[in-house]
């Protein structure tokens, strides 16, 4: 068996910015002294005049991006998720969301796979925060292929977009000829009849691994990849919930307000079924390797498998 190809979604993000630089001449990229880490440095190398380092001042960076968009530019403002959605929440809400400006936010180092830096930098709250802003589109890609597709879709979209990327190298799972990405459309990756696992980001891979293990136990799990957290593909989720009657959500984020929250809200209104939310269970993370943290917080394939089994028991 050939070795699984791995790449961090932040790396795919940086490469995509550089790749699309020529075809989107109005695109400019902003960073806050983290170009090496967010990988916007790849774009900077190719387009030095279109890369704006704002220094360690994320609030101002969001405002600058807003102003640039009003002169016809397509600004992509980049920093860690903690600072993009956390520190600069109100700037994103008032200077970008309220006037509905054409600003893209590239938030890297989301979730606990930040790893060794620990809880101060492990943002498990960004999806919840961004989801409350009217008109905000939220994309959380599951691998490098999807990350690239998200960047392209965000550039083609008119209005604010929050893109969420991770630090750790993760398996490439969407490298197939028929892969197609569209904002607002989820993807049915595996059909099943006993339980639906709705996953987002790097937990999609964990969900697929879990589904394999469940199959071995005679449990048929349906797996849906929700890359667009907002607007949510309610139809796809409701249809699957009506079929299986049980839903598990899986995300590298707090179980409060993220994908789990969004799915519960949608199902409560449309097709109430029992739901179990896999994610950070209202706790802060801690230092450790990304792989070890995924195991500890039961977000790897084995962890998702175990939690689904417990839910179904």
């Amino acid at each position: 068996m050939s070795e699984v190809k791995k790449m961090a979604t932040r790396e795919a993000y940086g490469k995509a910015l550089a790749e699309f630089g020529d075809s989107y001449p109005d695109m400019v990229v902003l960073d806050a002294d983290l170009a090496a880490a967010t990988k916007t440095g790849v774009f900077k190398k190719k387009f030095p005049d279109r890369h704006i380092d704002c220094g360690i001042a994320e609030a101002n960076m969001m405002g600058i991006a807003a102003g640039l968009s009003l002169t016809g530019k397509i600004p992509v403002a980049s920093t860690f998720a903690m600072f993009a959605a956390g520190r600069a929440f109100e700037q994103v809400r008032n200077a970008i969301g309220y006037p509905h400006l054409n600003v893209k936010i590239g938030a890297t180092h989301a979730g606990i796979t930040v790893g060794e830096d620990g809880a101060s930098h492990q943002c498990n709250e960004d999806i919840a925060l961004m989801r409350t802003i009217p008109g905000m589109t939220i994309l959380n890609p599951s691998d490098a292929v999807e990350a690239r597709a998200c960047v392209k879709a965000a550039l083609d979209h008119q209005g604010p977009v929050y893109m969420r990327f991770g630090r750790a190298a993760v398996p490439v799972i969407n490298d197939r000829p028929d892969y197609h990405f569209e904002i607002g459309k989820g993807q049915l990756l595996r059909e099943g009849t006993d339980v639906t696992i709705v996953a987002t980001g790097i937990l999609v891979n964990s969900a697929l691994e879990a589904a394999e293990k469940l199959a071995a136990d005679g449990i048929s799990a349906e797996v849906i990849n929700i890359c667009t957290i907002k607007p949510l593909d309610v139809d796809l989720i409701v249809k699957s919930a009506k079929k299986t009657g049980k839903v598990v959500t899986a995300e590298e984020h707090s179980i409060i307000g993220g994908l789990g929250g969004a799915v519960c809200e949608a199902l409560c209104e449309n097709a109430p079924v029992p739901v179990y939310r896999i994610g950070m269970r209202d706790v802060f993370g801690e230092s450790g390797s990304a792989a070890a943290l995924l195991v500890k917080y039961r977000l790897d394939g084995e962890g998702v498998y175990g939690q689904v089994k417990e839910f179904l028991a």
């Binding site: 400019v28 609030a59 405002g63 807003a66 102003g67 009003l70 002169t71 016809g72 530019k73 109100e90």
Partner: protein
């Protein structure tokens, strides 16, 4: 336009401010009145704009960073012809396009939504940078309160503008000396304001009387002539200027006049207007 004509317009702008906050039964007259002469100079003299084409390409931009003084901006826009002066008293009413704070999507002539203090200046800096990056020659103006500059984001923006030498940017501080909780010196002094902007690599102009049209004209001319640096105009103004009982009073920061007080205010401004007509 000569100074006397501008002063007459400024007096009309003040009447519109009083009518707006009276109609709203809420709002911020004090800081709108202190900046009325600056609003007037910008929209009637300084800026390259067209009320018939609010989104005109290449126009100069204005961001009201101290967004709570929307009555001042709205009155200037209305008196300049962007929308009817008669609409001003609908300010803050449900269904009115005149939102409590500037809103780019609903109010003709508003170049950026604002209201959360410290944020407007960043957008203005982004616009100034955008002008340079797109090869356009328009200028960008932003008005801040002297209390507002207690917000840290103001200095993030100032650092960036100074670093980038954005000489198409003019930051105006309405230095009326009062904020909601009292004198800026008593609350959390931002002084010395001029030295702070100098330290952030701005060309600084101390505008001794920011309610004097001749001095305002000179300050903006100096800003326009300044190359290689953004300009900060520290405008010393009188809060509530033009309405006898509001002048210099912190009580009128965010309060609307009742019917009786409205009549007194309008009578004050009528007298000022008549005096200007005698000149």
């Amino acid at each position: 336009m000569d100074n006397l004509e501008l002063m007459k317009h400024a007096n009309d702008v003040r009447k519109g401010i009083v009518a707006a906050v009276h109609g709203a039964k809420a709002g911020h007259p004090g800081g709108s009145l202190s900046a009325a002469d600056i609003f007037t100079f910008l929209y009637f003299e300084e800026m390259n704009i067209d009320p018939k084409d609010p989104k005109m390409e290449g126009r100069d931009r204005f961001v009201l960073s101290k967004g709570h003084t929307a009555p001042g901006l709205y009155s200037a826009l209305a008196n300049r012809g962007y929308f009817p002066v008669e609409d001003l008293p609908t300010l803050r009413h449900l269904g009115s396009y005149l939102q409590g704070h500037p809103c780019i999507q609903h109010v003709p002539g508003v170049d950026m939504s604002s209201g959360s203090l410290g944020q407007g200046i960043s957008a203005a800096v982004g616009m100034a940078l955008g002008a340079r990056m797109t090869g356009q020659s328009f200028r960008v103006y932003t008005l801040l309160g002297d209390g507002e500059i207690e917000e840290g984001q103001v200095w993030e923006a100032a650092m960036f503008a100074g670093h980038r030498k954005l000489d198409n940017l003019v930051v105006i501080v309405d230095n009326n000396g009062l904020q909601i909780d009292g004198s800026i010196d008593d609350v959390c002094s931002p002084n010395p304001i001029d030295k702070k902007f100098e330290a952030f690599n701005f060309h600084v102009i101390n505008l001794k009387d920011g309610n004097d049209m001749e001095q305002i004209r000179a300050a903006f001319a100096e800003a326009r002539a300044t190359k290689g640096k953004p300009t900060a105009i520290i405008a010393h103004t009188l809060k509530g200027k033009g309405v006898s009982y509001m002048e210099g009073s912190v009580d009128w920061h965010g309060k609307a006049p009742n019917d009786e007080e409205f009549e007194i205010a309008m009578a004050d401004l009528e007298r000022i207007g008549e005096a200007l007509c005698q000149k």
